[in-house]
Amino acid sequence: MKRRVEKGNVFVTPAIIWVFVFTIFPLVYSFRVSLSRVSYGKITGFAGLSNYMRMFGDYRFWGTLRFTLIFVLISVTATTFLGLGLALVFNRKMRGIKLFRSILTMPLFTAPVALGYLGVMMFYEENGPINVLLRYLGMGKVPWLSHPWWATLAVCMVDVWQWTPFAFIILLAGLQSISDEIYEAAVIDTSSGWAVFRHITLPLIAPVLGTVLMLRLVDAFKVFDVPFSLTSGGPGTATRTLTFYIYTQGLRNFDLGYASAMAYFLLAITMVIGTLFFRKYRELYE
């Protein structure tokens, strides 16, 4: 028995080393950096909490945080609703359904930065396909990339375009795991589709839905590639996310102390929101 335990330890050791080297050490080191003065990548002294205090007086930090929250709200809500809607539509026997599913999931396998650059062409204000279509429909030219609110919408739309298939695949798997017998029994009690959805489908896919929401939430807080490639965070800083700002401060301006402090702040708010969300979610469905 003892020898089996020893053997087991040997197998676990690489994983422990991996976690220490690639997770614990960077975490501890970046925390140290967040408490330091850093110039051109070199720690030049202890800064105490000044990097953390600096955030509170930095209007650019609050601006990027505000945009990040708006983005998370719009993007997570839209991807989840659209993904659920599509999953409900495709959760039935139809001709060519496999082909449709495959096509629908394609954006998921594209690099976000490539979608961002594709978005530049799609949203091009002069003769981009979207504005040409809108013009054809008798609508005016939309300033997709040069107006703060339209640019916000454009960034959200590209993200929704990419991530809706993710929600769709997971939720479709959830829907397909529900036994047909349950629905057959339900239709004896009610003929209302909404009632079946509300009282049968939704509670049964709730764990899957929770997973989708949680993963999307975490991912949306980290978004970087799409605003970077689509709008460069502009106009002004209208579409600059917190991760974009952290990247700029840390890797362009080499102000690593401040960048690390902001990264810790982002980690904290993601954890707080995640914890609150799960607590509420458990209350609702457990």
Binding site: S39, Y40, G41, K42, Y59, Y124, E125, E126, K141, P143, W144, L145, S146, H147, P148, A151, F228, T231, S232, G233, G234, P235, G236, T237, A238, T248, L251, R252, N253, F254, D255
Partner: protein, 538 residues
């Protein structure tokens, strides 16, 4: 076995694609390009390459524009010649514009030495010098192994960008400064001149000399179908997207409102209040929110309404394209527009190009008296990158790197790059200017496809700006410059898109610049700034 076969086939295809992409720079060249390049190669001094260099390899980090694109293109084009000359070769590492700083500075900060040569922008110098990251070119000027190039041929305002503390630090290549481009055919058309007079009561200025005149012309033509394609056209085109280098537009536009001549015999003398643009040299307090800048930003906003609203989201390419496609009557930009206008696949305006030095202003703000002076003011600029090579201190083969850069800096090779527009190398040496001031002839330009009148307008505009303008705008070369410019760019974008007022945008810029100055050390920056602009405290 079958799977292995598929894998091998894929690898072979990828290998072939890679080889084609490497060869493309030469393959895509026209016969005339090759012929003139061969002549330039024969004419250029070759020094005495060290036989020990045979088989060695350099790595060059450069702004990414591809094998036929600006600045990176010539590196691909000349590589076979360099291999023939030395038996050595080089890898070209293309870095996207937005990532230049982190890639290059990280390499230099950590002493990794990935890049032997960095073909970068001039605004990196503050950091290069203060951190001792580069080997000055001065060291190699009299080395008998090196091809002879002529630093003195670089025009005086640009020489400052290639030197530091009286020593040459960079190797001659690109020369940036913004000038005014306009449609010569439209502005000199009697029909439009008459309509302009009727509408404004003034004569149509050809070319517009001040920003106020530029505004009147752009406003008049905006929304009119002046190119006869049945759709309304634009007055002006600019690149105003954040991170789209729009702040260079503002830099060039604001100079005459801000830079004032010194009283007395020498109007060019740098004093605390005169011939300064960036900071008060006594306190390092930013001047960016002084009335001259505010007036200039209001002018930029007015101008931005005389073109497509889409240009608030445009980068360089889109803005140039609108002018080159004949949709805008005016733009102001670097030499690239002049050379691109001669390429039939990019432009419909060959033979119709008008070029003038950068406009001045009808008034300027005197920082000493804190009064506006109602007098025309003209200020030359060297805004932009003036992309050129420097040798990394961490290079494993600095001598070979110096050989390559010296050879590229020789007059025949550099001038060849200038006359072929796709290279992105802009004119700025005596051998680019026309005789009698310079050494070039109009035939040299015509031989590469230029329209004679376009070429004369193009080169003479630069000559007039850099030789005849009474004042010049200083270039910012202190540590932290890239960060300051990025912040400025963001705040200008906020103002242009109406998120904040011009005053607010410029106050925010000043506030942020002060924070950077305090973080990096005000006294240290002040010393470097004073040295860079030639200010001597009294």
């Amino acid at each position: 076995m079958k799977k292995l076969g598929v894998l091998v086939s894929i690898l072979v295809i990828l290998g072939l694609l890679f080889s084609f992409s490497v060869l493309w720079a030469q393959e895509g060249a026209s016969e005339l390009e090759i012929k003139t390049a061969n002549e330039a190669f024969e004419k250029a001094d070759k020094g005495n390459p060290d036989p020990a260099w045979k088989g060695q390899k350099l790595t060059i980090g450069v702004y990414s524009a591809g094998p036929r694109g600006a600045i990176s293109g010539p590196l691909y084009f000349w590589r076979p010649y360099f291999e023939k000359l030395t038996g050595a070769t080089y890898d070209i590492v293309e870095i996207p514009f937005a990532e230049l700083r982190e890639k290059i500075f990280t390499d230099l900060m950590t002493g990794t030495g990935t890049y032997d040569i960095i073909v970068g922008p001039s605004w990196f110098y503050g950091d290069y010098i203060s951190n001792d990251w580069i080997i000055p070119s001065d060291k190699y000027l009299n080395d008998p192994r090196m091809p002879k190039w002529e630093p003195e041929s670089i025009l005086p305002p640009l020489q400052e960008l290639y030197s530091w503390g009286g020593k040459w630090v960079g190797f001659n290549n690109d020369h940036d400064g913004q000038v005014l481009y306009y449609r010569r055919d439209i502005l000199s058309d009697p029909k439009w001149q008459e309509e302009f007079k009727k509408e404004t009561g003034k004569d149509l200025p050809v070319p517009p000399k001040t920003w106020e005149e530029v505004y009147e012309v752009a406003k008049f033509f905006n929304g009119k179908d002046w190119n006869g394609d049945g759709a309304p056209d634009y007055g002006i085109t600019m690149h105003l997207k954040v991170a789209g280098q729009g702040f260079f537009h503002f830099m060039a536009l604001s100079a005459p409102y801000v830079v004032s001549p010194a009283p007395g015999d020498d109007p060019k003398k740098v004093t605390r209040y005169h011939n300064v643009y960036w900071f008060d040299p006594e306190t390092m307090e930013p001047l960016v929110n002084t009335p001259g800048f505010v007036e200039a930003l209001n002018m930029l906003l007015k101008l931005s309404k005389t073109g497509p609203s889409a240009m608030w989201g445009w980068s360089l390419g889109e803005a140039w394209d609108a002018f080159l496609r004949g949709k805008a009557v005016i733009t102001f930009s670097w030499g690239d527009v002049g050379s691109l206008s001669q390429l039939p696949d990019r432009s419909v305006i060959q033979g119709k190009l008008g070029v003038a030095p950068i406009p001045g202003s009808e008034k300027y703000y005197d920082l000493e008296t804190k009064q506006w002076v109602e007098k025309r003011n003209f200020v030359a600029n060297t805004v932009g990158a003036s992309w050129h090579g420097v040798i990394s201190k961490f290079s494993k083969n600095p001598d070979l790197a110096a050989y390559f850069l010296s050879w590229q800096a020789t007059a025949p090779i550099n001038h060849w790059n200038v006359v072929w527009g796709w290279t992105g190398v802009d004119p700025g040496t005596l051998y680019d200017l026309l005789q009698p001031t310079g050494k070039a002839t109009i035939e040299e330009y015509v031989a590469t496809g230029y329209n004679a009148e376009d070429a004369a307008q193009f080169v003479n505009a630069y000559e007039e700006m850099w030789y005849k303008y009474p004042l010049k705008q200083s270039y910012l070369r202190i540590p932290g410059t890239p960060e300051m410019w990025e912040i400025w760019d963001i705040h200008l974008s906020e103002a242009v898109t109406g998120q904040v007022t011009p005053e607010e945008a410029l106050n925010r810029t000043a506030e942020d610049w002060n924070a950077i100055i305090d973080r990096l050390g005000r006294e240290q920056l002040k010393k470097i700034y004073q040295e860079a602009i030639g200010y001597k405290p009294e």
